[in-house]
């Protein structure tokens, strides 16, 4: 199980398969043997179908999770790493509640497999602040009342902050476009616009002051 180039252990596989009929299990295990063999010949890692160890680079540290290949990044973050700031709402890429960054770009973590995120830089809402110092978008969300129930807030903040990372000087339309996929049932949209623009302004001011 610990050897990730081998990808999967028989024990892991059988446990994962749970109640599958014995005949299919036999068949699958034959396939597995072939795959295991191939993996050893050709080199690149083969994962699954059981639980397997994966190294994820999350919020600046290297974390190991034990997941199946079909496990989404959202599930790995929440269930394996206790990073429950990332919320799962629709679980099919339609609400952006689960937004995290991969290599600085916002993605729906419910639509991303954990294995596809391996080796890349993942930032979650828990990793956005620097120590006690909040990201300007976080500060502005607090100041502008850009949350009510707060359930969309982590995703909304990650989307808005990602916008500022790639466009430090957005227009209102840029903000609207950026967060257009983020659903908020409490409808704090006007406050989100205000907050994001305010954050950009503040950041620019502090950069000018700092330079």
């Amino acid at each position: 199980m610990s050897d990730s180039t081998k990808g999967v252990s028989r024990r892991g596989f059988l446990k994962g398969a749970g109640s599958a009929a014995a005949a299919t299990a036999l068949l699958d295990s034959a396939v597995l043997t072939v795959r295991e063999a191939t993996a050893q010949i050709t080199g690149p890692p083969v994962y699954g179908p059981g639980r397997t160890e994966l190294a994820l680079h999350v919020n600046g540290s290297e974390r190991t999770v034990l997941v199946e290949p079909r496990t989404t990044l959202a599930a790995a973050l929440r269930d394996e790493l206790d990073l429950t700031g990332t919320k799962v709402v629709c679980d099919r890429g339609a609400c952006s509640g689960c937004t995290v960054w991969i290599d600085g770009l916002p993605v729906a973590s419910c639509m991303t497999l954990a294995i596809d995120a391996a080796g890349r830089k993942i930032t979650t809402i828990e990793g956005l602040a620097t120590g006690d110092k909040l990201h300007p978008v976080q500060e502005a969300f607090i100041e502008k009342d850009a949350m009510q129930c707060g359930f969309c807030t982590p995703g909304m903040v990650m989307t808005a902050a990602a916008l500022l990372e790639r466009n430090p000087d957005p227009t209102l339309d840029d903000v609207k476009e950026a967060v257009s996929g983020n659903l908020c049932r409490c409808a704090v949209y006007p406050q989100v616009f205000e907050a994001t623009l305010a954050a950009a302004k503040k950041r620019k001011a502090s950069q000018i002051a700092g330079s």
């Binding site: 994962g16 749970g18 109640s19 929440r78 206790d82 990073l83 429950t84 700031g85 990332t86 919320k87 709402v89 629709c90 679980d91 099919r92 339609a94 609400c95 509640g97 979650t124 809402i125 828990e126 956005l128 602040a129 909040l134 978008v137 976080q138 969300f141 607090i142 100041e143 009342d145 949350m147 009510q148 129930c149 707060g150 359930f151 969309c152 807030t153 982590p154 903040v157 609207k176 967060v179 257009s180 996929g181 983020n182 659903l183 908020c184 049932r185 409490c186 409808a187 704090v188 949209y189 006007p190 406050q191």
Partner: protein
């Protein structure tokens, strides 16, 4: 500076933006925790012929399977009707009704168990429409009636009469956090349940009842909800009870968390209504009589349908005084999940029926719709009694109507819309206004009570616990402000604790917009009593420290964290020292407050009385732009003006107004539930169910409220604000109707809500076809 009447951030703002805020399903699993789920009826109506759970028992990871026989009691319900079953017995009544509760080690086992259980159902004829239920006379509870004057005579002598059927659709609450609960077994057979509920007491009662436990063995805790909107007022009970059943039987922690898909399929939403209306009026647009028969789709069980209907009935008059009026209310039983509370609670369905009638009168008479509203508006000194007998006191409606007309430049823009429509071949514009008068208090009198616990600690910090649940409406922030203001200290010293039945017993749901009113008042009551004791201590302390000063509690003030004697304001004693002194003198630093709303009286049988403490009012003007080729509508501008009394927290109240309006917009424009012929919901995810997103925001959105500090009946002269602004979205519905009137020829356009693009396109097509046949008429009306 006092802690109220100003904007302070949301109580959990920092936790929300950092992801630290914990919701039920964010709690780490505890040792041995089981996953709970349920197999539900795939048939809308039928009789269970065979249920065999044995094949699922041997599946690895499946720990237990429970059916109705495993409960001490199966029957419950939030009203006296008590017709609901947690787990189906022999008959199934809706798709999504639980049949078997599954407890397993992991999700795979749950899935396998669902596939393995044999459930055979003989279908029975289902009822899916209000018309079918009416034909079968299959109603929930009695038909209620509100009446005043002589409706028959008024119609007989009417100058003009309009009539029709007005329909509004069902809506999903779509709180982002789906239903969830965790139950932990404890000593002596006790249970602790963490539930995402608006009503911890109800969860406690139902869990205790269904499991045959005394109430004191069930503690229900609610830290926060990721949205409720009414959907977790009663229906959070079901998942909590299922988790509790598992924890109780197996003595292991148990967690249930619906997926969004399942949540949308198995829980009820806003009641669809189908109302028959008749209205009589003069050529001046004065309404002389109204007859409205309200019919709602209650779904399979009573849930809160009777109370929702009562609110619809008491809101059908809306802002208008109508001398002769008769309103009946009938809840139809269908084979859908029981419909339940949803922000507005029937009010929107009643008010929209009236606003639609007024819009039709103005189209019929070709008269200014705002003028017609003003002519019929409740008066200040006279013409101010509602059909059910309550006086509309402290009435700000005439002022709001006047002001909104000016602020929104209604008359000039109405002319501009007509100009635009005369010229544009591609688009149509429409503009309309609407008003709302929303009664605050639960219609059910005994629910209008609350209690609060306030503890002051030796360092001067304060904990408050109430029955209010924080679901985004900012109730905790407001309570924190009220407590700080009452004690004369900084809000930073106050923390509002998770809602728990252990601290606050027999509480009412956080609903009816009254969470802050009632729980804030109870907290204020507790604070006043603590303060009175501290004032005595301060009088003694200050006298002891100051030369020639006799103790005089009546001249003591506590403000900005200092107690001082007004006669010698320069000598103060800091709050923290005062608290310490009180402790050393063995003076109690904790208190339980209580509040019962005064002066309410409502007779449900007769549908008469004064059920509301006061009304929250508002007016709106909205303008829409419709694409004539696609039917899609956009809101160009909305102006909202409200009377919310003296706001405790303007930031929160602004958010409540915009948020509520936006939900109303979804209800009337793009949220549509579609079903397969089997009664199966097809639109159970945001991929197929369209909740408004930022594209749907009005391009220009002006939100404001008038100065009004006269609502002294309520906590700090504030007014409840959670629900009323939702109804202002009716201005958007009326604006769409107004736009259609430019192409509907001599007819008054009819359109059901939700006015989806598809629905609008069908009307446009219909009117184009009709007017092509009668070109002279369409030319005349243009």
């Amino acid at each position: 500076m006092t802690a109220v009447e100003r904007k302070i951030p949301h109580d959990s703002a920092r936790e929300h933006v950092t992801g630290e805020a914990v919701y039920v399903d964010d709690m780490p699993p505890s040792r041995g925790e089981l996953i709970v789920d349920f197999l539900w009826s795939p048939v809308a109506h039928g009789r269970i012929r065979r249920l065999d759970v044995e094949p699922a028992r041997n599946i690895a990871g499946v720990v237990a399977l429970f059916t109705h026989g495993d409960l001490a009691h199966n029957r419950f319900g939030p009203s006296q009707i008590q017709d609901e079953l947690l787990i189906a017995e022999d008959e199934v009544r809706f798709i999504g009704q639980p049949v078997v509760v599954i407890a397993a080690e992991n999700r795979e086992a749950v899935r396998a168990a669902k596939a393995a259980i044999r459930l055979d159902i003989d279908p029975l004829p289902p009822v899916f429409t209000i018309d079918e239920a009416k034909a079968r006379r299959d109603f929930i509870g009695p038909v209620r009636k509100i009446a005043r004057g002589d409706v028959a005579t008024a119609f007989a002598h009417a100058e003009h009469v309009l009539q029709g059927v007005f329909k509004t659709g069902g809506v999903d609450q779509f709180y982002l956090e789906s239903q969830a609960a965790i139950a932990w077994p404890g000593e002596k057979g006790a249970l602790t349940v963490h539930s995402s509920t608006q009503n911890p007491t109800e969860v406690q009662d139902v869990v205790a009842h269904l499991l045959g436990l005394p109430a004191h063995k069930v503690v229900v805790i609610t830290k926060r909800l990721g949205g409720g909107f009414g959907g977790k007022e009663c229906q959070a009970t079901h998942p909590a009870a299922m988790a509790a059943l598992v924890a109780h039987k197996l003595k292991r922690p148990a967690r249930i968390a619906y997926s969004k898909d399942d949540d949308m399929r198995v829980t009820g939403g806003r009641h669809p209504f189908q109302n028959d209306y008749r209205v009589a009026f003069t050529s001046e647009g004065i309404i002389t009589a109204v007859k409205v028969d309200l019919y709602s789709d209650g779904g399979a069980f009573a849930d809160l349908s009777q109370a929702v209907m009562a609110r619809a009935m008491t809101h059908t008059d809306n802002a208008y005084w109508i001398p002769n009026i008769e309103i009946t209310g009938t809840v139809c039983r269908t084979n859908f999940p029981p419909n339940t509370a949803f922000r507005g609670f029937g009010g929107p369905q009643g008010v929209s029926t009236m606003e639609n009638m007024i819009e039709e009168i103005s189209l019929f008479l070709h008269k200014d719709p705002l003028e017609i509203r003003m002519r019929n508006c409740y008066g200040i000194e006279e013409r101010n009694t509602t059909p059910y007998g309550q006086i509309v006191a402290n009435n700000q409606l005439p002022r709001l109507m006047r002001d909104i007309g000016e602020r929104a430049d209604f008359r000039r823009r109405t002319a501009a819309v007509a100009d635009f429509n005369a010229k544009s071949k591609t688009h149509l514009r429409g503009i309309a206004c609407s008003a709302v008068k929303f009664g605050i208090s639960f219609n059910t009198k005994f629910l209008n009570q609350a209690n609060a616990l306030v503890n002051v600690y030796l360092d001067g910090t304060v904990q408050v616990s109430t029955g209010a649940t924080e679901m985004g409406q900012g109730v905790n922030t407001k309570i924190k402000q009220v407590v700080a203001a009452e004690l004369g200290i900084d809000a930073g010293l106050v923390i509002v604790m998770a809602t728990s039945t252990e601290k606050n017993n027999n509480t009412s749901a956080t609903a009816a917009s009254s969470g802050a009113d009632m729980n804030g008042s109870a907290a204020a009551d507790a604070c006043r009593r603590i303060r009175a004791r501290l004032v005595e201590v301060a009088a003694r302390e200050l006298a002891a420290r100051t030369e020639d000063l006799q103790p005089s509690p009546s001249t003591i003030a506590i403000a900005n964290g200092m107690a001082f004697d007004r006669r010698r304001p320069q000598h103060g004693i800091a709050w923290r020292d005062l608290v310490r002194a009180a402790y050393l003198q063995r003076v109690s630093l904790g208190e339980r407050g209580f509040y019962a709303t005064a002066g309410l009286d409502w007779n449900a049988e007769k549908s008469s009385g004064s059920p509301f403490l006061y009304f929250t009012n508002g007016c709106a003007v909205s303008e829409v732009l419709i694409d004539r080729f696609t039917g899609s509508a956009r809101v160009l501008r909305s102006d909202l003006l409200m009377d919310i009394g003296k706001s405790i927290n303007p930031g929160i109240d602004r958010g409540q107004i915009t948020g509520a309006f936006f939900q109303g917009l979804g209800w009337l424009t793009n949220e549509e539930k579609r079903y397969a012929p089997t009664g199966e919901l097809l639109t159970y995810s945001p991929t197929t169910y369209k909740v408004p997103n930022i594209q749907d925001l009005p391009q220009v959105f002006n939100v404001d409220w008038i100065e009004n500090d006269t609502n002294t009946l309520n906590l700090r002269s504030s007014k409840a604000v959670g629900e009323p602004p939702l109804l202002l979205a009716i201005s958007v519905y009326c604006a769409i109707k107004n736009a259609l009137s430019f192409v509907s020829g001599s007819e008054i356009p009819k359109i059901d809500a939700p006015c989806t693009g598809e629905e609008i396109l069908m009307r446009l097509t219909e009117y184009a076809r009709k007017n092509a046949r009668k070109p002279q008429e369409s030319a005349a009306s243009a």
